[in-house]
């Protein structure tokens, strides 16, 4: 129960979900883990809670009856960087990609297991802790054995230098700056390539694969670079 030891009592989670059964399920799971809870059943209530109570993490169901989840994300993003995890019942990727591009950090597909929910929450809260602890755009990035020196443009893994091509470096740096957040293919292409041509997608895949080979000790079970098929990639915090 290392999670409890990390002091989850400090984190407030806003659950925005119109289905009462699912809402109570999430609430129960989180309460057991020591999170503080806020609940909202509609988009309007959610905005109210978000603005007045300032939660640490927002779990947002995209299928709200009275509001468009994507709009809600955009609104929240105008004043805050609060991690948003979207929950979507639909299995098509388009809505998740749209949510991520609008500013969400992560996604969950219904039906999800409580384990998955808790894991996602851990990623979000770790990011918060890291962000609040260190300067986000500081000169050095440390994540387990991985160390990136932004100024010198060097990358070391457990002390040994890793040789990356310019593109690979840009990719790694982008993912590192957004540790814990799922970046969509489009977002990555725009940042690294300057535009999001569909023809660049195979290249992105190849670059990510070679990067993984260079960074991960066991490319079959990545510790840092997580792939989300059809959505994007994410850097995990060790």
């Amino acid at each position: 129960m290392t999670d409890a030891a990390e002091g989850h009592g400090a984190f407030t989670v806003l659950i925005v979900e119109d289905d009462n059964a699912v809402k109570s399920l999430i609430a129960t799971a989180l309460k057991v883990q020591g999170y503080r809870l806020l609940e909202a059943g509609t988009g309007g209530a959610a905005l109210l809670e978000a603005t007045t109570k300032n939660p640490d993490v927002i779990i947002l169901d995209l299928g709200l009856p009275d509001a468009d989840g994507i709009d809600l994300i955009r609104q929240v993003r105008t004043w805050s960087h609060t991690p948003i995890i979207v929950v979507s019942a639909r299995t098509e990727d388009a809505d998740k990609v749209a949510a991520l591009d609008a500013g969400a950090d992560d996604y969950l597909i219904k039906p999800f297991s409580v384990e998955e929910l808790l894991a996602r929450l851990r990623v979000a809260t770790r990011r918060l802790a890291a962000d609040s602890g260190t300067d986000r755009d500081g000169p050095v990035y440390e994540n387990g054995d991985l160390r990136i020196d932004y100024a010198a443009r060097t990358v070391t893994l457990a002390g040994e230098e890793v040789h990356l091509t310019p593109i690979e470096y840009k990719l790694l740096a982008l993912l590192a700056r957004n540790t814990g957040k799922v970046l969509t293919h489009n977002a990555i292409l725009k940042e690294v390539w300057g535009n999001a041509l569909a023809s660049d997608l195979p290249s992105l895949r190849v670059f990510m694969a070679t990067l993984r080979k260079k960074i991960e000790r066991d490319p079959a079970h990545p510790a840092y670079l997580q792939t989300h098929v059809g959505i994007g990639y994410r850097m995990l915090r060790k």
Partner: protein, 657 residues
């Protein structure tokens, strides 16, 4: 019946004929034209070939008139027809109107002089005279020279167009012979009875030969026309049969009409509900034609076309209705309905009868072809709907069965916990919780599959494919496997981590999940299940892209060869069911097939190769599916260069590489 020598009937007759044909068409008759001279024979022949059971013919006074005083009366058409028709009844109806004197058409036509006649006569006479003079100098008798003249006249009559030739050349021949060869030479005096007789014989023989050649020529012309007509109609029929779809039928017809008439054609299709669709013009490519496309599809032209479609009568230029248009509009009819309207651009002259007739037959065939095609399309749609309905019914049946089973366990387990929790041991309780959890997970996968099935079934699935790394997709699929997979030895073998294929990642993940879950279900615990991927070459098609082949192999009891083709059909459950008998929905593999096929790939099942089997009684199973490969080598290098160029433009190029 069209007479062979094209002579146009008199104005009155023409009008009467036109009115009668229109009336007949209005009443629903099918008007056919045959070619020939002998009315009774032609009708009898047509009746024979066309499965006609009753022939009705009007009798006219003229046929009963005697042509010459001493000849027996010409047999009436009716009685002749009755004699010739063996299969059809012949009904003769007396003409109410008084007999009108017909022009003695046959005779006068054949007496019209033409230029060829004069030329032939001239040449014959000149030739004969010249030759004769030569022979005379050679010392031959004048009787030989007469034979020469006879020969020349006969040769000339082979070329002559009408009897006028005979009338012209016979007296001239006699005169010339007299002048040049008969004593006294170079005078026109004649002695004896020879000349009248010579003249008479020359005249008669040349008339006979002329008439033979004239008739032969006309028959040849008629046969040529018949042959041409048959050829055009056969070609039209052939092309119409090959045409696929109503649009193709209409455009083929337009092309054939253009071939026939060499004028531009505009086709309007009439929808099954009766609405006139937009016109499609077909240019003739004829440089002599003076027509602009836009003038042909203007509102007034369309209005006429609409009228024709609604009233099923011809209109437009050259007809009596709505004449001020560029085109002649004819309806294209099926058996019962108007399926289209054809607009034929007419130059100022009307179409000749032969062409008009062919045109009507072609449009007729077109109409029937369109009707046939529409019926076929309707039948196909109905059949498809029926298939979908039966599939849906099967699906619902199977769903209710396969949902009920795990739901029964879940509710049963939950009720046990509710009622007897205090008497159950912790271990037992844990076992029940686990069962509930696993049943629920199983249901989750089932629902996933169902969602995909319903989307595929509705046709609302728009496949969005992207290049994906095969290894990534396989690994993510492994996160969603049946929990029992943990009891098996599941491994991944993809030697090229950069192997990429074009796919919808989520769908192919579902395929892999289904295949691996299937292997887990139908093999004993501890069996080895391997998911591998490699490049493969496409078949013999040249220039085709490479393929990626993904295989899910297990070393279990395998699938009997007889079942191998069946397992991909929906709802099929193998006879050798594994230990978890209730787990088969039979949907998973059929869904895999559908998904792979909409990606353009293939799926097949086989046994493990000999050397990979763990034991002889376990031949194992290998299910392999293919996906289009994505080439990356070139892209990679180019992308690196391109991106480097972008980076060079925006940032300093520091170290780190």
């Amino acid at each position: 019946m069209e007479p062979v020598d094209d002579q146009k009937p008199s104005k009155e007759d023409a009008r009467a004929l036109h009115a009668n044909v229109e009336l007949a068409e209005e009443l629903g008759a099918h008007v056919v034209t045959v070619y020939g001279d002998d009315l009774a024979l032609q009708i009898a022949q047509y009746a024979l070939s066309g499965t006609i059971s009753k022939t009705v013919i009007g009798s006219s006074e003229n046929s009963r008139k005697r042509t010459l005083p001493f000849l027996p009366p010409r047999e009436s058409v009716g009685s002749r027809l009755a004699k010739l028709s063996c299969t059809a009844d012949v009904v003769v109806i007396a003409d109410r109107h008084e007999a009108r004197p017909t022009s003695s058409r046959p005779l006068t036509a054949r007496f019209k002089p033409t230029r060829t006649d004069f030329a032939a006569a001239f040449l014959a006479l000149v030739g004969a005279t010249t030759l004769g003079l030569l022979l005379h100098e050679a010392g031959l008798a004048s009787s030989t020279v007469l034979a020469v003249y006879l020969m020349a006249v006969l040769l000339g009559s082979l070329k002559a167009d009408s009897f006028f030739y005979s009338i012209l050349v016979s007296p001239l021949a006699v005169v010339l012979f007299n002048y040049f060869f008969q004593m006294p030479r170079f005078t026109l005096t004649a002695y004896g009875l020879n000349y009248p007789f010579t003249f008479a014989f020359l005249f008669v023989t040349s008339m006979v030969v002329s008439s033979l050649t004239i008739r032969m020529r006309h028959e040849a012309q008629m046969n040529a026309r018949k042959a041409y007509r048959t050829e055009v109609l056969l070609e039209t029929e052939h092309r119409l049969q090959e045409a696929n779809g109503v649009d193709s039928i209409l455009s083929t017809t337009a092309e054939q009409v253009i071939k026939l008439l060499r004028t531009t054609v505009v086709i309007y299709q009439v929808s099954p509900s009766g609405r006139l669709l937009d016109p499609i013009p077909f240019a003739s490519g004829n440089p002599d034609e003076d027509v602009t496309m836009t003038s042909l599809v203007g509102d007034d032209e369309r209005a006429v076309a609409a009228w024709v479609a609604g009233n099923n009568k011809r209109a437009g230029k050259g007809t009596g209705t709505l004449m001020n248009t560029r085109c002649l509009y004819l309806s294209i009819r099926g058996k019962d309905t108007v399926v289209g309207v054809a607009g034929i651009v007419l130059a100022d002259e009307d179409l000749d009868a032969f062409e008009k007739n062919l045109l009507l037959v072609m449009l007729d065939e077109c109409g029937q072809a369109v009707e046939r095609e529409r019926s076929a399309e309707d039948a196909h749609r109905i059949r498809l709907k029926a298939e979908q309905e039966s599939l849906r019914a099967n699906l619902l049946r199977s769903i209710s069965h396969d949902l009920r089973t795990p739901l029964t366990s879940i509710s049963g387990d939950a009720s046990i916990l509710l009622s007897s929790a205090d008497v159950l041991t912790d271990d037992k309780k844990r076992a029940i919780y686990t069962d509930i959890y696993e049943d629920a997970l199983w249901l989750v996968n089932l629902v996933e599959n169902l969602l995909v099935v319903t989307r595929l079934d509705n046709g609302t699935m728009t496949l969005k494919t992207e290049p994906e790394l095969v290894e990534d997709v396989i690994r993510e699929a492994f996160h969603h496997l049946n929990r029992k997979a943990a009891l098996h030895d599941v491994r991944v073998e993809v030697d090229d981590p950069l192997l990429m294929a074009q796919m919808d990642g989520r769908l192919i993940m579902q395929v892999i999940i289904n295949l691996v879950n299937n292997a887990v279900t139908y093999t004993p615990e501890g069996s080895r299940i391997t998911v591998s991927a490699r490049r493969a070459e496409r078949g013999q098609q040249p220039g085709s892209m490479g393929l990626v082949a993904v295989s899910v192999a297990d070393d279990g009891p395998g699938i009997a060869p007889a079942d191998r083709t069946e397992i991909f059909t929906m709802f099929y459950k193998g006879k050798n069911v594994g230990s978890d008998a209730r787990r088969g929905m039979g949907l998973g593999l059929a869904l895999c097939k559908s998904i792979v096929e909409i990606h353009g790939g293939t799926i097949a099942v086989d046994a493990l190769p000999e050397k990979e089997r763990t034991s002889p009684d376990r031949p194992g199973t290998v299910i392999t599916f293919t996906l289009p490969a994505v080439e990356y080598e070139a892209d990679h290098a180019e992308a690196e260069q391109r991106a480097a160029a972008v980076a060079a433009g925006a940032y300093d190029e520091g170290g780190g590489a």
